[in-house]
């Protein structure tokens, strides 16, 4: 296919330092940290698969994922790894069903990467390490824990290895054969989209799903209830989003202040699994947090779009 050059996009120019900062100080260390944490979890599980003894390592791995888990771009989107690492929400309980099937039969595939994305990763492990149902304490649970930690550590190692070359591509937009990033503006747009999507996920999913409607609160839909991490995940994700924003656009004072405000509220919440959404007084606190996250998103759109010189997608926002 012959290349028609309408513009001088093929002249690869190094991306500005802000993109490099975002990659080198937040994103790449984040994936490296996740690889280290999941390797430690897997090592512990292979040594001793008793669930209670693995909870600390599992929590450390989950904390590490919160640094980068909101990034819906790059190697994690390949082979469904972002999904397999953290399959939530799962309204139909697909993951639990698939795991129960393996535990009942005792047959755990040797090629564990072929198992349904819903049954793997951090949430697959949460059901095994904080069992809420007898089936997750079945005899085969030990083998399933080990298969899942090994698979998780494998994926984390792959992402940690694949991100640096991907980051290099992001810093050389328009290189020959490049199809994802033709210009520096496209790189910035991809990072802006990742930030906005990340904030929206806190608002709509982590907070919005348990909030439900005032008339029908849904505390049972909170993320990671069994391990009590629902609010912690919002807090850590907001911190990671703040760090990425600060690296990408340090001048975005309004956005950073809005994120700081939401982080402070999340940390003062004292409602670890959002159980309070069912009671008007405590529900209000979660609603206030959600409003502050919404305000942070609005600030991001108002401030980062001009700061980065790019908007989010023309068609993506159209809805038709």
């Amino acid at each position: 296919m012959r290349l028609m050059l309408g513009f001088c996009f093929a002249l690869a120019t190094p991306a500005a330092a802000d993109v490099a900062d975002a990659l080198n100080t937040v994103i790449l260390p984040g994936y490296a940290g996740f690889a280290t944490a999941t390797a430690a979890l897997d090592q512990a599980a292979q040594a001793d698969c008793a669930p209670e003894g693995l909870q600390d390592e599992w929590n450390a791995a989950f904390d590490a994922w919160m640094r980068v888990g909101f990034l819906r771009l790059g190697p994690g989107e390949g082979e469904g790894r972002n999904l397999a690492i953290a399959f939530w929400p799962d309204p139909k309980g697909l993951g639990a069903k698939a795991q129960a099937g393996m535990l009942k039969s005792g047959e755990i595939p040797a090629e564990f990467g072929e198992v349904s994305v819903a049954a793997r990763g951090l949430f697959g492990l949460e059901r095994l390490l904080y069992p809420q149902d007898a089936i997750f304490k079945a005899e085969a649970a030990c083998r399933l824990i080990r298969a899942t930690t090994a698979d998780l550590a494998r994926m984390a190692a792959e992402l940690s290895a694949e991100w640096p070359p991907y980051a290099a591509r992001m810093q050389a937009p328009g290189a020959v054969g490049e199809t994802e990033f033709l210009t520096e503006a496209e790189v910035k747009r991809a990072l802006l989209t990742a930030l906005v999507t990340g904030v929206e996920f806190q608002k709509d999913s982590r907070l919005g799903r348990p909030l439900g409607d005032f008339d029908r609160p849904r505390p049972e839909r909170a993320e990671a209830r069994a391990s009590g991490r629902s609010a912690r995940n919002v807090d850590l994700s907001l911190r990671a989003l703040r760090d990425l924003t600060a690296a990408l656009a340090p001048e975005a004072a309004v956005t950073l202040a809005a994120l700081d405000k939401a982080i402070a509220t999340a940390e003062g919440l004292d409602d670890p699994v959002f159980a309070g959404v069912a009671e008007p007084g405590s529900r209000l606190k979660v609603e206030i947090l959600q409003q502050q996250v919404t305000a942070a998103k609005d600030a991001m759109m108002a401030e980062l779009v001009p700061a980065l010189g790019v908007g989010t997608g023309f068609n993506a926002a159209d809805g038709d």
Partner: protein, 357 residues
């Protein structure tokens, strides 16, 4: 523009007839609406290599277009809810007619000419309640000559059936006539409706009850007249649902899920669809997910390709041509994406292949 001016100068010398065929205007292969850096909208005629051969200004944001089967004449439709459709002479850029929907009707972004080009069919809704209509327009006088029921609520794309008549994607969504707000998501019932040449319903197909929030919006035709349809999920975004279906008139729809690992890549939203009948490939695009997903003619997933804001899709040669909101035009075949051209434009949702190309 230079190409067209040069050509027009030649025309004056040769004294050719004013009604031109598509080949006379530089043989564009595609039409696509776009917004430029100054915020102006236009309909572009594109070559098979992605060059803009000429463009015709539009008064507002466009959506899809359709081309007369013979004459160098195109109709550009406004974005829904549409108050205009412009009939443009692609040779001169002159506006031949400006269609406005009758009182209480709105255009819905798509349309098609009859096989002989004598009639234009427009996808429309009754503004209050979104009941679907197909508007009929005489393509010489541009008088409205009638309308049919589309067989559902909120029709979006319609396609000419090879044996005559139309197939319509009734998206099922009732929208506020002013602001596009969706009013009936709990009760929506999308369907496919096949109409004969006089507007009678030949067949209808609906999705199973649990999928009634999967709005059927865009269509592509297969080699035996079967329809591939692209959907947009209005239910819980966490639910994984197929966004591609295949259906022949009178049969039940077959849903075509992607690979499990890629099931959420499209974020519940397919924006455009095209079927390359010569190689048996269907492409489904998601600007929201930034992905073009290729399926075979039986709806089995073949490959996925990442590209932000990708949407417009049309078959060409042994693959497809795709457009994105960043201005790029891509060739897509089994080897992947390759860049054809880059414009300082945002390409709008649809890339329309000219039948004569």
């Amino acid at each position: 523009m230079a190409t067209r001016r040069g050509f027009l100068a030649g025309l004056l010398v040769s004294g050719a007839l004013p009604r031109l065929a598509w080949a006379d205007v530089g043989g564009p292969a595609f039409l696509a609406a776009a917004k430029d850096a100054a915020g102006e909208y236009a309909l572009h005629a594109l070559s098979a290599r992605g060059e803009s051969l000429f463009h015709l200004p539009l008064p507002g944001r466009g959506h899809a277009a359709c081309a007369h089967p013979v004459r160098a004449e195109a109709v550009a439709f406004a974005r829904r809810p549409g108050t205009f459709a412009l009939v443009l002479d692609a040779g001169t850029g002159r506006e031949l007619a400006r269609l406005t929907p009758p009182e209480g009707r709105q255009f819905n972004g798509h349309g098609a000419y009859s096989a002989d080009g004598s009639v234009l069919y427009t996808s429309e809704v009754v503004a209050q309640g979104s009941a679907g209509r197909v508007g009929l327009w005489d393509s010489e006088s541009w008088q409205r000559i009638g309308e049919w029921h589309s067989g559902g609520i909120g029709p979006h794309e319609l396609r000419l059936r090879p044996e005559g008549g139309l197939v319509v994607a009734n998206g099922g969504i009732e929208t506020d006539p002013e602001d596009r707000a969706k009013l009936n998501l709990e009760a929506m019932q999308p369907n496919l409706t096949w109409l004969d040449g006089i507007g009678g319903i030949v067949a209808q197909a609906a999705l199973e009850p649990g999928l009634n929030k999967n709005s059927i919006r865009h269509l592509a035709l297969g080699p035996e007249g079967q329809v591939a349809f692209a959907m947009q999920w209005e239910g819980d975004p966490a639910e994984v649902v197929p966004l591609l279906g295949l259906c022949a008139a009178g049969e039940s729809p077959a849903l075509c899920p992607p690979l499990e690992a890629e099931a959420l890549l499209m974020q519940g939203y397919a924006g455009s669809i095209a079927w390359n009948r010569s190689v048996g490939r269907i492409v489904l695009t998601s600007p929201r997910g930034g992905v073009a997903m290729v399926f075979d003619g039986a709806g089995r997933p073949v490959a996925s390709h990442r590209r932000a804001d990708i949407c417009g899709a049309a078959a060409l040669g042994d693959g497809f041509v795709l457009t994105d909101g960043g201005g790029a035009i891509w060739a897509l075949d089994d080897r992947g994406l390759s860049l054809l051209a880059q414009h300082a434009l945002s390409w709008d949702n649809h890339l329309v292949a000219l039948q004569t190309a």
